[in-house]
Subunit: 190 residues, 2 copies
Amino acid sequence: MKARTRKEEIIIVASRLFKEKGYNAVSMRDIALAMGIKAASLYNHIQGKQEILSTLILEVAQEFTLGMNTVMLSTATPTEKITSVIELHIDITVNYSEGLAALNNDWMHLENDDLSDFVKMRENYEENFRKIIKEGIEKEEIKAQHPEVILFSILSTLRSLYVWYQKRGKLDVNILKKDMVAVLLNGIVV
Amino acid sequence: MKARTRKEEIIIVASRLFKEKGYNAVSMRDIALAMGIKAASLYNHIQGKQEILSTLILEVAQEFTLGMNTVMLSTATPTEKITSVIELHIDITVNYSEGLAALNNDWMHLENDDLSDFVKMRENYEENFRKIIKEGIEKEEIKAQHPEVILFSILSTLRSLYVWYQKRGKLDVNILKKDMVAVLLNGIVV
DNA sequence: GAACAAAACTAACGTTTGTTAGTTAGAATT
DNA sequence: AATTCTAACTAACAAACGTTAGTTTTGTTC
């Protein structure tokens, strides 16, 4: 994500700080300092601290919703759909790594409609994923294990990816996709 | 974890609040209110807010270190060792769910020696896990995939378990262990 | 060069924060 | 009965918080 306006610059700088210390541990003065200006000057561009958080999170959340809807509308097999979802997560991780951190760690600090909208989107996303897995079990593509364990296992790996992706110096996205799909679908034992 | 002293009561109440809102979003007055006393009264039992956090986190961290050391000293095969580590995580999740939340989300708010001790323990833990996986690949028990992808995949699933465990009303621990091991080792496709 | 808008500034506001000091009520110990 | 201990209290602190108001600087357009 590149900054096209001053407002976007602020959001990008803030997201970097949020990622390191969390929303509540970052003050408006911290953000201003990182921008090289005074805290009051931020208010020429944004309405408040909350706006930074909600802009950041809801942008990424919509990206997920959009991607999942596309997958659900396709005629692919359940296994192919799961593969698509894994790839979707990796693409978003690469492009919105800071926003993802806020989404994962600070969503509970959203307020009012932003909070309830987010929670709804999240529940909807999980419900769609659950449908894919259950369909896979019915069609005997997926092992008849507890679907919740499968859902949770894949989803929590994908959600943590942002932490790990740039710690291990930016590997090739296509190789990462291939490896992740292999590990998550086929396991690790020979 | 049961409260045996007033200090432990405070730590338990605080950990519950930390889990919901994060360390920085919980004030000493919040903790005091949840205890039914005034904020200043907390200081008869604890040294400060930091002490709550470090007690909470380092207790759990030591539990992990201890468990991992036991696994490393055993003569089990790599696959068996991975199974033991998975079971270790599940046991700790069940017994220290609130502390785990703080460990996962608020470790960066530790200070001084507590912070560096924690980071060292964490690195050490990951390094041991990495050794097990590499040994498994050498002995051809584990697929010769990127070991980092395998490590990350399993570890992030296990680390997120605390979020999910009590949302899905407390299932039987032994069944959970069996299912998790199956999914993480053998994958999900038929 | 006057007029304008954008984006910075200084100064201050009312709250909330973690914490300290000193005090008090009740229970346990001598 | 006197003393000590435990655990609560009130009051207050300096610092940090998000935010507002009003002003000055900077760069662009007539």
